[in-house]
Symmetry: C2
Subunit: 229 residues, 2 copies
């Protein structure tokens, strides 16, 4: 399209290379989510992006490249969405709740790159694997930071294996993508808030709570701390 003039100095003859790339990743994400990476053909991606297979090859040398680009985008978007949602919130605990919301909304209503990143993990070949692993670790470290801050704010139980907590919450939230269907009465934000209340306060009634609960937690932790290797 237009908007050339000064400013955006395009390489040469590009209608809108950025937008075209966007269209490819959008189409690829949709197909990967529906059928999985291996079951999707490059021809399908090209058709869905309204171009011929050769044109697709010009932009991405291989199918793997598309997957890697999509996953990078997924990490980027996930971090950005949560950063945006939590910015300006002073309470670390409340940041966590808002972050969960944002993550789940992106996963359910956003584009499919985050879903592919989370669920099409095995499709990465060893060559591309290392690059995406680093990206994915950025996402994990980002959440770890949110959790450490929240834990440090004092309202959480004193002895918690943060890594285990992260896996716990990440699993519960991400699994929503496997059963959520739009318009079944629950919005992603409602689900996230309900999950947050489960996470924060537990499912049992106060009367069932043992008096030595934190000692109990500590004992569980002791076991997971002795991870040798």
């Amino acid at each position: 399209m237009a908007k050339t003039e000064l400013a955006t100095r395009r390489p040469a003859a590009a209608p809108a290379p950025a937008d075209t790339d966007e269209k490819v990743l959008l189409a690829a994400g949709k197909l990967f989510r529906e059928k999985g990476f291996a079951a999707t053909t490059v021809r399908e991606i090209a058709a869905a992006a309204q171009m011929l297979p050769g044109s697709l090859h010009y932009r991405y040398a291989s199918k793997d490249d598309i997957l890697v680009a999509l996953m990078r985008r997924g990490v980027e978007r996930a971090i950005r969405a949560v950063e945006l949602a939590t910015a300006g919130e002073p309470s670390a605990i409340e940041r966590l709740r808002l972050g969960l919301r944002a993550h789940l909304e992106l996963l359910c209503n956003g584009d499919d790159s985050l879903y592919v990143l989370l669920f099409d993990w095995r499709s990465l070949t060893s060559g591309a694997l290392s690059g995406v692993i680093r990206e994915r670790e950025r996402l994990e470290a980002f959440w770890e930071g949110l959790l450490v801050e929240a834990h440090g704010s004092g309202v959480a139980r004193p002895l918690l294996d943060i890594e285990l907590v992260r896996h716990f919450g990440f699993g519960a939230i991400n699994w929503v993508a496997t059963w959520y269907r739009e318009g079944d009465g629950r919005t992603p934000a409602q689900i996230a808030d309900a999950f947050w209340s489960f996470l924060a306060f537990g499912l049992l009634h106060e009367s069932a709570r043992p008096p030595d609960l934190d000692t109990h937690f500590a004992a569980l932790l002791a076991a997971s701390f002795k991870k040798g290797s």
Copy 2:
């Protein structure tokens, strides 16, 4: 098929047809878990099961049939393992804890059929889909039963959306399969118990608990109850 007259009347000349089928499903499960269904070839399965592609075709007419058989087996094993682990336990809450343990142990250390059932869902073609959906609903209904019993025993909060709780716990537990590696210091049983304590008692300290907590839960529930369709 076999099993006619009395006892183990073999059809004719079978070394051990049941064991051979077992070997196929074991090999297929391993490969499907490692690379996914679509990325696995029938030749690989045959080779891993120490037979030629033609022999595999004799037992399973199509690759889809193998997947369906494997998933059926996964449901069967998952239900059986949890039933076995919870049998004889009088406390419904304790049954839940033991069930989580058994489920996670099967998922981490058991054969791969449960993993494939849970994570290779999209690979099912529409033809085979309906049959496996019914099986999978059996598994969900089974857990729903455990949860309803536990909820009815009185120690849980009064107002809980059981379906949401099931999705929550199922996600957290199943996600373990994506990061668990044998010998990193945590056994599946330890992880299950830690997750159980998170689930039961929550992550926040008692002092952070609002006095009107159950009203808070009720409000969350009100939203998820008005699901129209």
